[in-house]
Each structure stands twice: as structure tokens, then as C-alpha cells.
């Protein structure tokens, strides 16, 4: 299983770090007394868990952008859809503990005077069903969208722009109350997941570890693709799509398969994100979110997978810090980062480190 990591030192380090975190963080949170300086607050655990889901999301973007050359400006949509599927499950779990105390209907439906649960909410009270939907819904959307786009050979910036239009259309749609996803406010006030209280430290730790495991599995599966001949076909498509057709590969099918897989990964990331932050609303569909996550990948170094995960964690750490300490500066910093990375660090941090290594070696 770990054969695919051979030679992938960055990946080995990443996985080792995540495994280490999954071992130490629970200990520091649960068993080190709060008075100790080594104690990790539950707030921090949740924050770290959130970063891990972002890292998984960044992996999914890097897979299509770094290896396949598709700059998707709509991956936030797949993330959000996965999140909504999870949110629907969590809404069902609230039961009669909502403000209105209606055992069948979520609060916002009571508020809108709906008398029964819409058909597309059916089944989400079952965890396994919700988990299938977490992967199925983004997957199907990506499949249909990709089938249309790749078959007619929409590429490059055109593709980027219509992926952006896709997430923008979804943003507008999810803002509507009639859609049945809570409109502007989205889904929130979750109580528990699989019977565990979402507020408790143990559940938080559980979600953190789950995110870590998902990241590792996600990394391994991406790596499996990248290290296979399919991965090399993807790189070939990135560099010269036409040429790949002339040696007999169905470019549209390769793209479709990888794009769909990537959307599923993004959906899983979204599903892990929602119970940790406790809310999902249409804002997740905003084009800004999708484009921001492209920058995580660019900062880390695209086409390396572990660089994307690294970039996601670093940029989000900076974001948490700056929006807290200097809120005015954050957008300047993010904007500057876009410009700086594209102009001076086209290969991201990983690229810089590799060059450094070469210089030392030489």
C-alpha cells in the first residue's frame, strides 16, 4: 500500500506529521490538565481539525490543477455540497430540540410554514445514506458538468470561468428559501452526530482524528492516481492535450474520471468541516472561497499534493491570526499573496525548498 509513497519524501513527512498529530493532540487536550502550559484547548483542536479538512480540499484542487491542468474556480461548490449533505443529516438529529420543538421539521421549515419535509430531505436521517450523498451529490454534479465541458473541449480560462459561474449560480440558488436548504442562514444549531454530543471534547477529538485519517487516505488515493500511468497521462494532458488524443487516449474520459474523483474528495472534506464549525450556509459557495483555495495550492506548490496540504494549513493559519489581530490587513495580505506567488513563486514553497536543496547539493 505504501509503495506509492516510494520516493515521495514530502508525502512521507506529511503523513508522519498527521499521524503524530492524531496521537498527540487528543492526549494534550484530554489528559493534560487545563492549567498546564501544554494543554491544548478544545477551540484549538477544532481549529486544527478545520485546517485538516482544508488540506484535504486543497489536495482535491491540486489533483485537477497541478496534474490535469484544470484550474477549477468552483471547487468550493463541491465542498459546500458535501457540507450540506452532512448538515442535512445533523439537522435531522436535532429532532424536537429545535426552537419550535417540531420533531419532524427543521426550524427553518417550521418558520416558512412548510407542513412536511421535502422529498430531497428523505433518508438523510440515516448516517450511511447521508455519507453516500456526501460523495454522490458532488460527484454527480462534477460528472454532469465535466461530461458537458470536457466532451466539447472547453479548456483553459473558459473552463475556469464557467466553473466560477457554476458556483455562483449555486450560491444564488442556495440563498433562496424555496430551495429548502435554510436560505440565507443555512443549516446550523446542530446537536449531535451518531449520538455523540457535538459540543463535548471527546466528539471534537473524534472529528479531529477522523479529519486526519481522511486526509491521509485522501493523500494516499491521490498519490495512487498520480503515481500510476493514469497520473502520467494526466500530466501529459496538462501539457499537451491534443497530442494525448493522437496517441489514443480519450482525454475527456480521463479528465472526467479525475475531476469527479476530486469533487468527491472535496465533498468529503466539506462533510468533515461542517460538524466542526457547526454551520453551513450559502456563503461557502461564494466564488471568493473557491478562488482563495486555489491560492492555498499555489502558495504550497502545485503539482506536489503535499505542497497543497501545506499551503492550505499555512495560509489558513495566517488568516486566523490576521483576521483576529489586524482585520484590515487580511485582504491586503491575501491579495498581495496572490500577486507575489504568481510573480515570484510559481512553484510555491515546495519549489523554493527544492531549489534550495539543489543548491546545497551542488
Amino acid at each position: 500500500m505504501f509503495r506509492m509513497l516510494r520516493g515521495d519524501y514530502g508525502g512521507q513527512i506529511l503523513i508522519a506529521l498527521v499521524v503524530l498529530a492524531c496521537a498527540i493532540v487528543p492526549y494534550l487536550n484530554l489528559y493534560v490538565p487545563p492549567s498546564s502550559p501544554f494543554h491544548l484547548s478544545t477551540f484549538t483542536v477544532t481549529l486544527l481539525g478545520k485546517y485538516l479538512t482544508y488540506a484535504l480540499l486543497a489536495l482535491s484542487v491540486d489533483l485537477v490543477w497541478g496534474y490535469l491542468g484544470i484550474l477549477s474556480l468552483g471547487h468550493g461548490a463541491f465542498f459546500a455540497l458535501g457540507g450540506y449533505a452532512m448538515g442535512m443529516y445533523l439537522m435531522h438529529q436535532i429532532g424536537d430540540r429545535g426552537v419550535y420543538g417540531n420533531p419532524d421539521l427543521p426550524d427553518f421549515m417550521v418558520f416558512l410554514n412548510w407542513d412536511q419535509i421535502p422529498w430531497f430531505w428523505q433518508g438523510f436521517d440515516m448516517f450511511w445514506f447521508a455519507m453516500i450523498m456526501v460523495m454522490f451529490v458532488p460527484g454527480v454534479l462534477a460528472y454532469v458538468f465535466g461530461w458537458l465541458a470536457f466532451r466539447s473541449r472547453v479548456t483553459g480560462v473558459y473552463l475556469s470561468i464557467i466553473t466560477q459561474a457554476l458556483t455562483y449560480a449555486l450560491l444564488l440558488a442556495f440563498f433562496r428559501n424555496e430551495m429548502g436548504f435554510g436560505g440565507n442562514n443555512g443549516l446550523t444549531d446542530f446537536k449531535d452526530i451518531l449520538g455523540f454530543n457535538l459540543q463535548s471534547d471527546e466528539t471534537r477529538i473524534g472529528l479531529f482524528v477522523a479529519s486526519g485519517i481522511a486526509l491521509i487516505l485522501g493523500y494516499l488515493s491521490c498519490r495512487a492516481i498520480v503515481a500510476s500511468r493514469l497520473g502520467r497521462v494526466a500530466v501529459a494532458i496538462r501539457d499537451s492535450e491534443d497530442r494525448v488524443r493522437f496517441i489514443g487516449y480519450r482525454v475527456d474520459k480521463v479528465k472526467l474520471a479525475i475531476f469527479t474523483f476530486s469533487a468527491v474528495l472535496a465533498g468529503i472534506a466539506g462533510a468533515l468541516y461542517v460538524p466542526q464549525v457547526g454551520i453551513i450556509n450559502p456563503g461557502e459557495f461564494s466564488p471568493l472561497n473557491s478562488i482563495e483555495l486555489v491560492v492555498w495550492v499555489a502558495v504550497g506548490g502545485r503539482g506536489t499534493l503535499y505542497g497543497a496540504a501545506l499551503g492550505a494549513i499555512l495560509v489558513n493559519y495566517a488568516k486566523t491570526y490576521l483576521t483576529g489581530a489586524l482585520p484590515e490587513v487580511w485582504l491586503f495580505a491575501l491579495g498581495g499573496l496572490f500577486v507575489f506567488v504568481t510573480l515570484y513563486m510559481p512553484k510555491g514553497i515546495v519549489g523554493l525548498m527544492r531549489r534550495r536543496q539543489k543548491e546545497i547539493g551542488a
Partner: protein, 540 residues
Amino acid sequence: MRPTSIAIRHWVFAFILSLIAGFSTAVHADEAIFQGGIENLLAKSFNDKTQGAQQIAESGDDRAEQILKALLDRQLFSTKSDKTLVFFDKDTDATQAKQVVSGEILPVTDVKSLQRIRTNNKMRGVIKRLIANIQLSNPDPVKRLAAVKEIMGKVTSDQIDAVKTLSESEPNAEVKREMETLVQLSELQSSDEDVVKAAIIGLKGNMNQQVRPKLEDLLTSESAEIAASAKTTLEAINKKVTWYGHLETLFFGLSLGSVLVLAAIGLAITFGVMGVINMAHGELIMIGAYTTYTIQHYIMPNYPGVSLILSIPAAFVVAGLVGIIIEKTVIRHLYGRPLETLLATFGISLILQQAVRSIFSPLNRSVETPEWMSGSIQINEVLSLTLNRLYVIAFCLVVFAALFIVLKKTSLGLQVRAVSQNRGMARAMGVKASKVDAMTFGLGAGIAGIAGVALSQLTNVGPNLGQSYIIDSFMVVVFGGVGNLWGTLISGFSLGIANKFMEPYAGAVLAKILVLVFIILFIQKRPRGLFPQKGRAADS
């Protein structure tokens, strides 16, 4: 207006009044009758007072309208001391009482010295009609029109004949039509079937608000013939109203389309001609809007009109300069890497947004609309065109034409086209490609600034102004076919119109979503847009 017609009108007017008042003989404007009316107003009984009001109206005295209005507004008083009628003129100064008869100003020392002339509902109804009747013969056609509209649907049968006579001599076509509508509307209630039928036919194509409900009432008429006739007429009117409704939607669509074209056309240059994806385009629009705000608010605050016109060149220069700076510092280094350009310019857009937030404030600012841009042109009862939308459409066309001329007729345009078609060859011919790039980008950015001036008249100016237009702008350019100005124009207008036509059925948000989905599907079918660049070069 000819004096003779006025005389006739006065005569007719008096005739109406006589009918209303139940007098059998015609009367001239008469001071005696006026005075008699005043006396009657001071009486206790409402009947006497009503008669007094009628007498005043009948007298044809110039003061009549004023008095009756005061009476209606409960501003007519009598002094307790000498029973003189006084009123407060709300239009000039509500603290001064005016003597009705002499027009002199009476200093009011104590409100308690005055007694209000009281009215009841029935009386007020009569007074309203009296006032309307006086106004019906007002020499000002605008006043007459208002008067007809006032009594529309409220007239009694005995007034109708009078209005009918009046309408025959009415010189103003619009007033005449209204009067006829009024007559025909009341004739619908007639017991004589022939009269009703004639009225129905007369109302054909009349889009007055009152007509349709009245005709609808007739659909259940006992006479099958009348019901059928009413139905035909009603359907014809409804068709016409729908048609004008479509015209109005078309107008809204065109104005939305103009906004889209204005927002997109600068992008059509940078994206279409240069192949540069400028995600900061929306923020250049925003800069244009803020330039307008700054000029109007800080530089010449008291001249909204002049400052708006001055804003156009100013916004062009400011946004253009910002564009040139962006090109020289960032985009220049990223030619041939469209996806990287996209990311870098997106970063610039974030910086510009935050800069505006820090400099001005995160709150929306509103830019004043000069007077000559507010208001509307009333085409008929159901269609009115607002001036600011009309101006935007015109402005869009002017900007488009100007840009077209610049690109086709000037040497800059020639160089721009040369560089965009074959960079290497253009350079070999001595065109400074890098300078042309900067100029082209500046031109696109400047036009975005101008679009910002137009947008400042339609929406609030805020840091998010640009963001809300960037995706739409891209859609317009891509839909129209990259590199084709005409395509951008047609695509902008058709998307605007499509959007507005879908809105009544789907709602504004859903309409927008549908348009987006349509474009996403359309691009799959025709990846190069409506009007693709042709030739073998475009293939590779």
C-alpha cells in the same frame, strides 16, 4: 388658446353647474350669486351650506376654487366677531388667515376667535365634484387633465351629458380622450343596451385603469350580446396592455443590457483583444464609481449635473491610469500564462477593494442624480420610460460607438489590432508591442471606469460594486464570442432582455440562475461564443 373658446367653455361650464345645482336657467359669473353663496355657507344646516358651495361655484368667480378647496381641507373659518369668512392658505403660510372676500391678510391673534365651517361626508362629495368641475374649464390643460382623472368613476349621471358637451369643444387631444373615456365609462351602466354597446365599442383599445374592471363586470351581463362584445373589447385591450407590458420589459431589458455591455466592453478589450483575464475589472468599474462620488461630494458638491459630466473623463483617466499601473507591474510579466494572470489580477482586485474600504468606508455611498436625469416619459397609461434608464442606454451606445471608432479608425486602434493578431510581425513592423499593450489595457480599464460612472447612477457605490458585475461581464464576453465587439454588444443586450423577460415568471434570482445555467450549457455547445473569430488561426 383662443379667447372665444374660453368664453364658450365658461358658458358650458356654467351650464353644467346649473344642471348640478338644479337651476333651470343659465347664469353668468355674478358677484351677487357669489355673495349669496357666502351667506349660505355661514348658515347652520348642511343643506344650506351645500347650496352655498354650489352658488359659489356657479358664480364663476376666480376665488371660488380657493374657497371650496379650503372648505374641503377644513381650513375655512368664520370670525366669531363679525362673521367674516377667512381661510388659511396651506400653500403659502399656514399661520396667516386670509379674508375670503377681500383677500386681505387678517392677523390672527387668537385661534379661539375663529369658528370652523363644518362639513359632512355628503357635502364633501359634492364639493369635490364642484372643484373638479371648476378645474375642468381651467385654461391650463394639465389642470384639466387632473380634474378629469379626479372625477373619473365618481360622476353622477346628470354630469355626464355636461362633460360630453365639454369634450366636444375640448382642444387638447389628451384631455378630450380622457373626457370621452369618462363619458363612455358611465354609459356602460346605462339601461339602454344600444348605448352600452356603443360605449363598449368606443372603449376599444382604451388602456385606462378604470376601463378593464368595468368591462369585466359586464362579462356577466344578462344580455349575451353585451357580454360577448365586452369580452372581445376586453381581450383586445388586454392584448394591447400585454403588448405594452412586453415593450416595457424590453425597455428594462435593454437598460439592463446596456449596463452589462458597459461593464463588459472594457473586458472585451482586455480579454478579447489581448487575451488577458483581468479579474480586477470589476474593481476598475468601482474606481470609476468612486471617482464620480469624490468629484460630486468633495470637489463640487453643489453641482450634481456638471460634476457627473466631468466625472466621465475623470473616471476614464483615473481607472485608465490604475489599469496601466497594473499592466506595467503585474500583467506584463505573465503574458502567455492566462491562469496565472487570472490569479494575480484577482489578488489585485482584493487589494483594491480593501483600499477603498480603508479610504472611504465599508459602507455604501450614494451618488446624487441630477434633475435632468430623474423623472420619466409617459408614453401612455401603461408604459412610461424612466429617464435615467434611457440615458444609460444612450450612453452605452455612445461609448460603444466611440470605442469602435477608436479601434477601427485611429492609429492606436490599428496597432492594437495588429499586435493582437500577430505580435511578432507587428513588432517587426516597428510597433512597440509593450507600449501598445499598456495603452490597450489602459483603454479597457478606462472604459470600465466610465461604466462605473453610469453604474453610480443606478446603484449604490460600495466596495462590492465591482464583484457583483465581474461574473456577469465575463458571461457577456464569453457568450458574445471573445475578440468581437459586436458580439459583446449583442450578447449584453440579449442577456439583459432574456433576464428581464424571465423575471416575472421565475423571480429575479432564479432568472439570473437560469441565465447562468444557459450560458454554461451554451459554452459547451459553442465554446467560442455567438460570434466566434473565424479562420484557421482561431482553430489552433
